[in-house]
Amino acid sequence: MKDQLIIAGQKIKSRFFLGTGKFPSYNVMRESIISSGAHIVTVALRRVDPKLKSENIMNFVPKNRIVMTNTSGARNADEAVRIARIAREMGCGNWIKIEVIADNKYLLPDNLETIRACEALAKEDFIVMPYMSPDLMDAKRLVNAGAASIMPLGAPIGTGKGLKTKELIKILISEIDLPIIVDAGIGSPSHAAKAMEMGCDAVLVNTAVAVSENPILSAQAFSLAVQAGRLAYLSGIRGEKDIAEPSSPLTGFLR
């Protein structure tokens, strides 16, 4: 059965996207990308501190991956646009995850500024992947602004609480004709599987993998959960019932 995720006309080989922050080392990050088979990985841009002789992260990203720069640190649309342009100038391609956050406690995205940034960057031929609070009207505005996918949060970044916004994400799946990718809040493979069973197109995980005791194994576990959840969705699992229903025939023996 052919089941291909396509974003902006490109075939994406894995429905599991991996963030690269917080890993114990770039080597472990690299091995985690490999063990999970992630095709899209995210990176961030920061000021260079010449005193810290750190390695170049790009040397640790395996070949043939799409490296998508996030605009983390941006507090408004203009800053997000600025970061995106710098990322492209650095030869990182034109995939950009818009992340506009002005709330430092819960790290919730500013949908309004995100829509503004999406509009500006789509006009500059970026492939724009906006991280957003799952609101149907704002998702429609992002579609009109030229987004390539919609990335609603399951729960605040780094909390690992899972799909707290489940019902709102279901509405996006039903009403938005773009890939829906749950980004943020996924804390365990079962959360990722649940998102995929619901009909999400992909899942992005970072913290839960990177801070686990064995990120390389963890990345693989998440990736397998995403695959299982996708197969479950395609298979049309029936879901819950309140009344029991025997799975073995009850007739013809002992009574």
């Binding site: 770039y26 841009l45 260079v48 005193k51 710098i86």
Partner: protein, 66 residues
């Protein structure tokens, strides 16, 4: 003259290009992108772009992020 380099005010006593500024401050030029007063300066222009008093320079590179 005073300039702002990655958010820190520094004093420079001579005429200097973007390229020299990077080298003198210990940056590895092949891994960074430079913004001068919020505009990107492309690498081929680094040694013909002069720094002026009051300029704001950002030197950036990629790091891990989600």
């Amino acid at each position: 003259m005073k300039i702002l380099l990655n958010g820190k005010s520094i004093e420079i006593n001579e005429k200097i290009t973007v390229f020299t500024l990077l080298l003198k401050n210990g940056f590895e030029p092949n891994r960074v992108v430079v913004e001068l007063n919020k505009k990107i300066v492309k690498q081929p222009l680094w040694d013909v772009t002069d720094i002026h008093s009051g300029d704001t320079i950002e030197v950036l590179s990629f790091v891990g992020g989600g």
